[in-house]
Amino acid sequence: MAIKKLLIANRGEIAVRIIRAARDLGIATVQVYSKADRDSLAVRLADEAIDIGPPQASKSYLNQATILAAAQSTGADAIHPGYGFLAENAEFAAAVEAAGLVFVGPTAQSIRLMGDKVAAREAAASAGVPTVPGSQGRLESADAAFALVEKTGFPVMIKAAAGGGGRGIRIARSAEEFHHLMPQAQAEALAAFGDGGLYVEKLIEGARHIEVQVLGDGRDVIHCFERECSLQRRRQKVWEEAPSPSLTQAVREKLCTSAVALAKAVQYRGAGTLEYLYDDRTGEFYFLEMNTRIQVEHPVTEMVTGIDLVREMIRIAGGEPLRIRQDEVRVSGHSIEVRINAEDPARNFLPNPGTVSGLSVPGGDGVRFDSMLYQGYTVPPFYDSLLGKLIVHDKDRPSAITKLERALAELNVDGIFTTKPLHQALARDADVKAGRFHTAWLEPWLESHAAALATAPPPSAAKATT
């Protein structure tokens, strides 16, 4: 059933992105909004907009019944969940379909399967996709654990089965250390969690974050190559690029083929991303998890392949088969995306909502700014700090970095502090220019560059427009 009217169950820059894709396909749009988003760009752009409640996400963007009722009262025939909020909520996907509407995404069953860490790991293993070596489940004895680490090799992480958030993790770099730490870890796990169960996992130090974009129609799956997102702060991606600067052609081929094998094994439908850790010293990669939705950093893939991923996922949801064959997907040039957040890098990334008193948007060939901003817009404090994404594309990575510096210089968000100075400093950094980084690279860099970031010029105050 071709979609005629699409409801966007999200906000911010991704809502704007989805409205544009729908409009390019001739599909009417309905934007839901909380009271804090009444003046948002998405509301202004959509054909229709409907109030779904108070600012708190739990009472608006996460309120499944209200969103379904909004779809029914506006006559929408499909719901696009964007990312975050209800995008990976299997219960919601099922409720949308049960209401006779189209969910722009995979089946509830796929979301459930990939959302379960153990099940996803098992699915990967049976599709022949490598995962981080470690115990399949909890280990009750130190002997069983040692037998396992003799196979995986050192260093290993010893984790409490009942733990979480990094608590109770120990790192052993040798057999001697392992024998010393294991009893400690068991005792601590028992004391802290009332459960001495442990599991062990090989520690991949200095690994990069590489992910593969896939598109499936429930029968066939293609990949659109990889993105590298190793520059992260507190596990949040900051700078993303395509292609990865660290993969050899042979590894790229193996990695992307593995992603297709796993997505095919679960009969994946829609746009999805398989995340991996990649050790560029050994050439080994390990599957981490699959995100069953469109991702923030999807534009870098669009820039290098020329494929509009959001449009494709809407077409697939409307019942069309994949229109692109694998051998038609080609990478041209290099693309980089940086996240422009309402955070002040000079003050430890303090969030600062407020009013955009002036806005200059960069332009020119190969420059794209996906954002929710307009001059006079007041950024509400209730949601995440992402204001927009600056994306550049050029013939190769050095040219893309040069263009990024130029585009950042043209970008001015007046009235609020943003992460622009961070990206300017990164674009000038020798390691970044050489592609020498990994997922634990940025945080120490931020500490050693704190003084330089603290003296970065603040955004200009309100300027009179002439």
Binding site: A36, P54, P55, Q56, S58, A342, E343, P351, P353, P380, P381, F382, Y383, D384, S385
Partner: protein, 80 residues
């Protein structure tokens, strides 16, 4: 005795508890010290503690748990 108000330092969502399954930081009638935390403000997914700022006795909270608040909005009244 004079009455003072505790104002929200930031715009965001006000929480009276450190976590959904924990008790409230302070109840009406509680005695507070200057450095006591009386709640949290969530701004763009980051959580910031709100300190009493004065020593005294809480007369009452002026906002509910999980209310949206503006910067400068009074959160509680306090007898000092």
């Amino acid at each position: 005795m004079a009455t003072q108000q505790i104002f929200s330092p930031l715009p965001g969502i006000f929480y009276r508890k450190p976590a959904p399954d924990k008790p409230v930081y302070k109840n009406d009638g509680d005695v507070v010290a200057e450095s006591d935390t009386i709640g949290l403000i969530e701004v763009m997914k980051s959580f910031n503690e709100v300190k009493a700022g004065v020593t005294g006795k809480i007369i009452g909270f002026l906002v509910e748990n999980e209310d949206a608040v503006m910067a400068g909005q009074p959160l509680a009244e306090i007898d000092v």
